[in-house]
């Protein structure tokens, strides 16, 4: 059986490196279905990734892809978007890549509201390097650099993105992949900085040191913990503890998009300078 998304994969590079039970491939699949559904063209769609398990996706995707260095996918994507504003530019990153080493770029991309779509695969761990805690590891959970439990508080990345100025903020899970696919589509269609956090299980580096341990159980737990924004609004902070609030969490269609503002300012300055030269010529 050939899946439709295989037309967007470098099949000669398969099998992929992701472990059995990993949620990255599930979300990467959803992204590719979104690309097909939206009818994005290969010639003007660019995927940029950093370093880590989720960022490896760029290596398998047969679109224009840049596998950049650790933490720097967003600045690379920003450069591409500024040079070719008509391109659809999507960033695939993870919690370590996007929120730790590249965290600075994340908040500034949000602040500028540049028309990029950032899909951050949150597996709450550095998977590729062997399970060190990340800025989204839950307190008390075990990581190789926190053998007796993480004691630093984690980021709520969606709240961070909203506060920093992103105009489309959503959260989905690998467990509810249809919803996540829909959120990715909405994010790509949104004009402005779209931040989509995709919560994915990492049974190898997270599950086996924490509970639940098995891939299916992790997905089940993700599903059980998920709650819609509407339902979440009725719960107290205490009741919301351990819940994964999903759906579109914030949307603003009014805030000016960076590239467009830049083009307007640029055109205005050119016109002004042109007038001045014309006046000087008359003199």
């Amino acid at each position: 059986m050939t899946l439709e998304i295989e037309q967007l994969l470098h099949r000669e590079r398969l099998p992929h490196i992701w472990c059995a039970g990993c949620g990255v491939g599930i979300v990467a699949g959803a992204f590719l279905r979104a690309v097909l559904d939206l009818g994005l063209k290969r010639e003007n769609t660019v995927v940029v990734s950093g370093i880590g398990c989720s960022s490896r996706a760029a290596g398998y995707i047969d679109l224009n892809t840049v596998h950049a260095i650790h933490g720097r996918a967003l600045p690379v994507a920003t450069g591409i978007k500024m040079a070719r504003p008509e391109f659809t530019v999507i960033v695939l990153t993870g919690d370590g890549d996007g929120a730790a080493i590249g965290g600075n770029h994340l908040i500034h991309s949000c602040r500028r509201n540049i028309d990029l779509t950032c899909i951050l695969f949150n597996n709450q761990i550095y998977g590729m390097t062997g399970g060190q805690f990340s800025p989204t590891t839950e307190p008390g959970d075990i990581a190789t650099t926190a053998p007796y439990g993480q004691f630093e508080p984690p980021f709520d990345l969606c709240r961070l993105a909203e506060a920093a100025g992103a105009t489309f903020v959503a959260r989905g899970t690998a467990a509810n992949i249809r919803q996540t696919e829909k959120l990715i589509k909405q994010g790509i269609q949104h004009c402005g900085f779209s931040f989509i956090e995709a919560v994915v299980p990492c049974p190898t580096e997270y599950g086996r040191r924490n509970k639940p341990a098995k891939a299916v159980d992790m997905l089940e737990a993700e599903r059980a913990r998920s709650i819609s924004k509407t339902k979440a609004a009725r719960l107290s902070p205490e009741e919301l503890r351990d819940k994964i609030v999903t759906g579109v969490l914030y949307e603003d269609t009014q805030k000016p998009e960076f590239q467009r503002t830049y083009a307007e300012v640029s055109a205005g300055v050119r016109a002004q300078v042109g007038r001045r030269f014309a006046e000087e010529d008359e003199k």
């Binding site: 965290g103 390097t129 062997g130 060190q132 805690f133 190789t144 650099t145």
Partner: protein
């Protein structure tokens, strides 16, 4: 010395480095995971968590922060260590200069790995060679034992009052870091006695003597003199490195120099090589010697400060020297070690020929046959009249 430990352990190179760190037990360790260094930090995290060491362990959000944090800790008067590889090393680059110019005796384990791009996680020396002008002392190890021995000696060298410069010690990613090899350790007490207690020099946290570290002192300030002072410390480090090695030799029975010659005394052709490839080269030297070829070698250990006079004297009788670089300097006449060796021999009379070889970039295998090919080039050059082209020769490069 009596009471020497002779038990041989089977460990990975990273385990060897982590064990050295455990015995040193620095005050502060800050690090960020990167392949193939990760295991060092991970093992150390476990030691911290298990109370086997008393270090403050900070897992920061990038290598830039890791080096910044150890600089802060060292300026505050703490004995500090970190570890990295490749892109992590590159991300630290800006801070490397800050650490050395503040004269902070930080010790860093660098597990050598290629730099992007394309992304490559395997061994070459591009990362640390890129930091050769950063003012750090550089020690390169060949194997597991040297990863351990260099790490311990690095503390003494860095903290020596004649030096006070940061030291990085290197070993090959995967080939040493991940492979299992033999290690003989000192006892914990021996290491503690050897390194001694840490003495902070002009630390920040002395309320009776407040200091400012690294301020802008204007166009007419002392920046230039400061740099000269750094370089003088580098010069003094040569003797300190040897003194520390001699003392360590007394203690451990393992003796180190600034470099390690092998069958060099009557050699007509010789290879200078860094890291784990020295082991392979030694085998080839033996094989050629058995055939009557006067082949020899030097394993480079100390790259900064570069002991140029010692090389000039060690290689003065050699007709042709081949330098094996596991890093390239694009657009230069050859790799970084080649350039140093060639410059070091310039004043020799007669002046040996020095030929550049590049090998093993991005983890490309280097086989005994490849090193024999290099020796064959040297042998031919030694027999020919006139001087041979100094164009790069690549070992085990695929045909187009």
């Amino acid at each position: 010395m009596s009471g020497q430990n002779t038990e041989t352990l089977a460990v990975t190179g990273n385990e060897a480095a982590a064990e050295a760190m455990r015995q040193i037990d620095p005050d502060v360790v800050c690090a960020y995971p990167i392949t193939p260094q990760t295991e060092v930090v991970q093992l150390y995290a476990q030691m911290v968590a298990d109370g086997k060491v008393s270090s403050e362990f900070v897992t920061v959000e990038s290598e830039h922060s890791a080096m910044s944090a150890v600089i802060g800790a060292a300026a505050g008067g703490a004995r500090t260590m970190t570890a990295t590889s490749s892109q992590g090393f590159a991300l630290m680059w800006e801070l490397l200069f800050v650490a050395s110019s503040y004269r902070l005796p930080i010790v860093m384990t660098t597990v050598n790995r290629a730099l992007s791009g394309p992304i490559n996680i395997h061994c070459d020396h591009s990362d640390s060679m890129g930091g050769r002008d950063s003012g750090w002392i550089q020690l390169y190890g060949e194997n597991h034992q040297q990863a351990y021995d260099n790490c311990i000696q690095a503390v003494r060298i860095a903290e020596h009052l004649e030096v006070r410069l940061p030291v990085m010690h290197m070993y090959d990613g995967y080939v040493i870091s991940g492979a299992i090899g033999p290690l003989v350790m000192l006892s914990d007490d021996q290491v503690q006695d050897f390194i001694g207690p840490f003495t902070a020099v002009n630390p920040l946290l002395d309320p009776k003597r407040p200091v400012t570290v690294g301020p802008f002192d204007g166009l007419h300030g002392w920046y230039f003199e400061h740099k000269v002072a750094q370089n003088r410390a580098m010069d003094r480090a040569l003797k300190v490195i040897q003194d520390v090695a001699d003392e360590y030799g007394e203690l451990s029975g393992r003796h180190y120099g600034l470099f390690e010659p092998y069958r060099l005394d009557d050699a007509e052709i010789a290879i200078v090589v860094v890291g784990s490839t020295a082991g392979t080269t030694r085998l080839v030297v033996d094989k050629l010697r058995a055939k009557g070829v006067k082949a020899g070698m030097i394993r480079m250990r100390v790259f900064r400060p570069f002991p140029h006079a010692a090389y000039a004297s060690a290689l003065e009788h050699v007709k042709v020297v081949g330098v094996l670089d596991r890093a390239d300097s694009f657009g230069a006449q050859g790799g970084p070690l080649f350039l140093e060796i060639r410059a070091a021999l310039y004043d020799n009379d007669p002046r040996p020929q020095v030929l550049p070889f590049i090998y093993g970039l991005g983890g490309r295998d280097i086989f005994p046959d490849n090193i024999e090919q290099a020796f064959a080039v040297l042998e031919k050059a030694a027999q020919e009249k006139g001087r041979t082209s100094t164009g790069r020769r690549y070992l085990n490069l695929r045909e187009d």
